[in-house]
Symmetry: C2
Subunit: 344 residues, 2 copies
């Protein structure tokens, strides 16, 4: 309960340096140091150093209403998609003396709420959310408390909250154009969950890109997954293969995990990739270049997304910014060995 009172406070320094605590505070703070006599300041600095003084940010935060902490909501850090984003965020925050409070929500509303509450109670200066969904209610709540919030990897239809994402439509277009360029025309889409903005937008992008290429998209050429997992990808892929009567020659998947699921059914059925079926993923997760075959996928600059998002919350610390909604970064197709010309 009672931790040994070892901490040296501003008062200790003051006593030792023969000045008032207020003066110590000023001397220690870059911003206000000019207000104190250089000699005094120097002395205070010395004493602080000698005593091993460590400012108590908690106390500081109480007074200044700033904790220099940003809450980061992630569905599941175990999903390889997120670590790079997190790195991007952290590195950027660190530069400015901020720290990230990271939590996993599992996209579970109650976990989400618990975590957001906990973070608000800790007076975080802002939020970055990579979660697929966030209660409208929760959203409004943090909005009302006017602590900045920025979304990554997804966005709101109404643009009411700033977001940084990759241009999903353009990205999917890259993918379909690639296989079209290879000569494919019977192209399927293993789509992500439609209640997630990412899944939905990629599906839209697929339809658009196909239309632009003058290709029809029938009911048989797309299947929806309930989650972004290998299992669902496999299920959808199998259904697609069955429904198309073996005519499909390429699949663009809603994300890499889904693509891996496709690999699984090919292997199971003894079909080759890209010989029998070309597959392109989405995200360029770590290690997909090590799959057999290495996965052709669209690379999204995760780390940069994180960094930009961090930048944004940091800027938002200064107050709201007008006319800010979505920042789109450019995706990039990385061609590996899971795509090739159509069979026959």
């Amino acid at each position: 309960m009672e931790r040994v009172r070892t901490a040296v406070t501003i008062r200790d320094v003051a006593r030792e340096a023969q000045v008032h605590p207020g003066t110590v505070s000023r001397a220690l703070n870059e911003q206000t140091r000019t207000l104190v006599n250089p000699e005094t300041a120097e002395r205070v600095l010395q004493v602080a150093e000698r005593l091993g003084y460590r400012p108590n940010r908690i106390a500081r935060g109480l007074k200044t209403n700033r904790t220099y902490t940003i809450g980061v909501l992630i569905p599941d850090i175990t999903n390889p998609l997120f670590p790079p984003i997190l790195r991007g965020i952290e590195d950027r925050l660190l530069d400015e003396g901020y720290t990230a409070l990271v939590v996993n929500t599992d996209n579970d509303p109650v976990r989400e709420r618990t975590h957001v509450e906990a973070m608000r109670a800790r007076q975080v200066d802002g939020f970055i959310s990579a979660t697929a969904r966030l209660d409208r209610e929760l959203l409004d709540e943090v909005g009302a408390a006017d602590v900045p919030l920025v979304l990554v990897n997804r966005s709101l239809e109404d643009g009411s909250v700033p977001a940084v994402t990759v241009d999903d439509r353009q990205a999917i277009k890259l993918a379909v154009d690639h296989v079209v360029g290879l000569g494919h025309s019977r192209i399927g889409h293993v789509a992500g969950p439609q209640n997630l903005s990412t899944g939905h937008r990629r599906y839209q992008g697929f339809k658009e890109a196909m239309a632009a290429a003058g290709l029809p998209v029938s009911e048989d050429s797309v299947r929806f997954c309930r989650t972004f997992t290998e299992e669902e990808g496999a299920r959808a892929c199998a259904e697609l293969l069955d429904a198309s009567g073996g005519e499909l020659t390429a699949i663009v998947a809603g994300n890499d995990l889904l693509a891996i699921g496709c690999y699984d059914v090919l292997e199971e059925r003894g079909l080759s990739c890209p010989g029998y079926l070309s597959i392109v993923g989405y995200n360029d997760m770590p290690f997909v270049d090590r799959l057999r075959p290495p996965l052709t996928t669209v690379h999204v600059p995760q780390r940069e997304i994180g960094a930009v998002a961090a930048d944004l919350v940091l800027q938002l610390q200064g107050g709201p910014i007008e006319g800010l909604d979505e920042i789109l970064l450019d995706p990039e197709l990385v061609v590996r060995e899971s795509t090739g010309p159509p069979r026959g």
Copy 2:
């Protein structure tokens, strides 16, 4: 600068409920609620709810010297080894109302120091460190401040700091015995950095296991890597292959990344695995079951390690525990397809 003063404080609740702030505090806290008249308590609860009161943990922490926050030091969250550990930690912490403050150190001493300072300034209640090294100095510093520290995935020789790890020696023995059982006798070791406890202990374990199996380990049968990366693994593997004059038939690697490096040189040289060379990894990182061939490796219960570590810091909150040093969890060999009988 001045955020709108929207927060409702304990005083607002007090005014509204016609009681003293102290009473509100007591009513709101489970522990002390019995001290207040049930009716009053109920009324306070109601008002608090109605006003949307959110206790300010910062203020609370200032008074109670508890932040319910644990600092977690990780080398690099981008390394697939760590996300599961982090999950284990977070889930366990969440159960107890704690939150994790996570940072990436890159094993860089200055980053490390910066981060530790920042966390101490934020008055974290404890530390969990998964970093390979930590300045002796830093270690002592947090020790002196008597905030609990527990290590994961590595330990100190002198056992001065509680740690939770897997039994590296036993684990490597599992690996060695496996290939020995397959009939191998010319077994090499691609060892991790010897300045990291993990790398060192696995190397020791390798020598011991070989000795126990009655097998010699010559100078030509081990190569050391400077880092736990594919590149280094590849370099070491190539050297090993060259040095042994083509006699080696199996390699046990210091970790999965190193093993992947071995895969690379085999591919480069057109050699097969496990036909020409059996390879066993260490850690059972996500996705190694999807490599070609799926990697035989020793599984370490990352998530559990994290959970146990979290448990430990939590327990340590009650005060130091006597006779506590290292908690060893059991590794488990998972045999996949990268190992087979020796050629010839």
